[in-house]
């Protein structure tokens, strides 16, 4: 049965789009048929992070408005044949996205895919509420930092009240994904620890993505982190998180950078 998963956070810049692309690609690599949808109308970026920016012809709004068929707007990934992208529109009209439109697109996609990943825009406005509206599960992307944790708490409140699941007395299954985590700084008491964040948010942990230069490297070349360098620390962390989404039990740990000989000789610091 298809699962609709929203990747959300409230705060901007914490890694929603990076995480959507990385988890989507990791699930596809495990053989699942996956579509990632960009809900950030007016500021689309998932296409860029996925390396599909020059292949966008039609978008989510075109489908909502009946200008294009869903099959015309879906872009198939060039690296993974069971990974697809539904890009956002660049229109400035925020009202172009409607509840009815989103409901019918999600219902249609449910018949064709195993996973529907909704990349939420930042904020708590229309785009963010519609991205979570039909979700079965939610990944709340959180940086170990006060403003991000506060906004995550707010978003958790919305997932428990403003989704179709919540309104019908069910629960959206929620997971916290901690990104940009720096083990050394947390050990020195300079950064909120994993335990601190989980205790405050009272939500189970999906994974810990370490702060890493590999994330920027991957987005520079338009490749999901998990595809660009599968052995990098963040790629392994995202793959573990994807396996947990599939129901596997994977020991929780923070992958560390594996320094090569040249790195050691040149004294390069791992990010």
């Amino acid at each position: 049965m298809a699962k609709v998963l929203v990747v959300t956070s409230g705060k901007g810049g914490v890694g929603k789009t990076t995480s959507t692309a990385a988890l989507g690609a990791a699930l596809a690599q495990m053989g699942e048929k996956v579509v990632v949808i960009d809900f950030d109308v007016g500021l689309r970026n998932l296409d860029l992070v996925m390396g599909a920016e020059r292949r966008v012809v039609f978008d989510l709004i075109n489908v909502v408005q009946g200008i294009a068929k869903l099959s015309q707007a879906l872009i198939r990934d060039k690296r993974l044949e069971n990974l697809w992208l539904l890009p956002a529109s660049q229109t400035r009209d925020k009202d172009a996205l409607t509840d009815d439109g989103v409901r019918s697109i999600i219902a249609d996609l449910r018949t064709k895919f195993d996973w529907i990943l909704c990349d939420s825009p930042a904020g708590i406005e229309r785009g963010a509420t519609l991205a979570m509206r039909y979700a079965d599960e939610a990944v709340i992307v959180t940086n170990p930092e006060v403003s991000s944790v506060r906004d995550s708490d707010r978003i958790i409140g919305m997932l428990d009240s403003k989704t179709v699941k919540a309104e019908s007395g069910e629960r959206v299954e929620k997971h916290v994904l901690i990104t940009r985590y720096d083990t050394a700084r947390a050990a020195r008491g300079e950064m909120l620890s994993i335990e601190d964040v989980l205790e405050i948010l009272a939500t189970p942990l999906l994974g810990i993505i370490p702060e890493s230069q590999d994330v920027l490297r991957a987005s520079n070349v338009g490749s999901p982190v998990t595809l660009n360098n599968a052995n990098s620390a963040p790629a392994r962390a995202y793959s573990d998180a994807a396996r947990r989404l599939m129901g596997e039990t994977v020991t929780m740990m923070v992958p560390v950078e594996r320094k090569g000989l040249m790195d050691r000789l040149l004294g390069r610091r791992a990010a």
Binding site: R150, G157, R188, S193, D196
Partner: protein, 92 residues
């Protein structure tokens, strides 16, 4: 270990401060969430009742709540134009 490093001239740990501030703030914010806009509801209902008897400018009605430790106060300030009062007095 962490304390030792700090004794050796390290900076004080700030994460415990972050944690405490968040716990206090979120306890407060979660409390507000259950009762969406209590003041807004009060204001519109008070306005509806008073408007049945007096013609009012809705802009001139303010409802404020001060939460104290033991007692909270609800302050309702309704401005009624004098011309209206006079016309009401004349009518009765």
């Amino acid at each position: 270990m962490m304390n030792l490093l700090r004794l050796l001239g390290g900076r004080p740990a700030t994460a415990p401060v972050a944690r405490e501030r968040l716990q206090i703030l979120l306890a407060h914010e979660r409390g507000l969430r259950g009762q969406p806009d209590l003041l807004g509801v009060l204001r519109s209902e008070i306005l509806a009742v008073v408007s049945r008897h007096v013609v009012l400018d809705p802009e001139k009605v303010t409802v404020r709540m001060d939460r104290g430790k033991n007692v909270s106060t609800l302050e309702v300030d309704i401005e009624v134009p004098n011309s209206l009062e006079r016309s009401m007095a004349a009518a009765t």
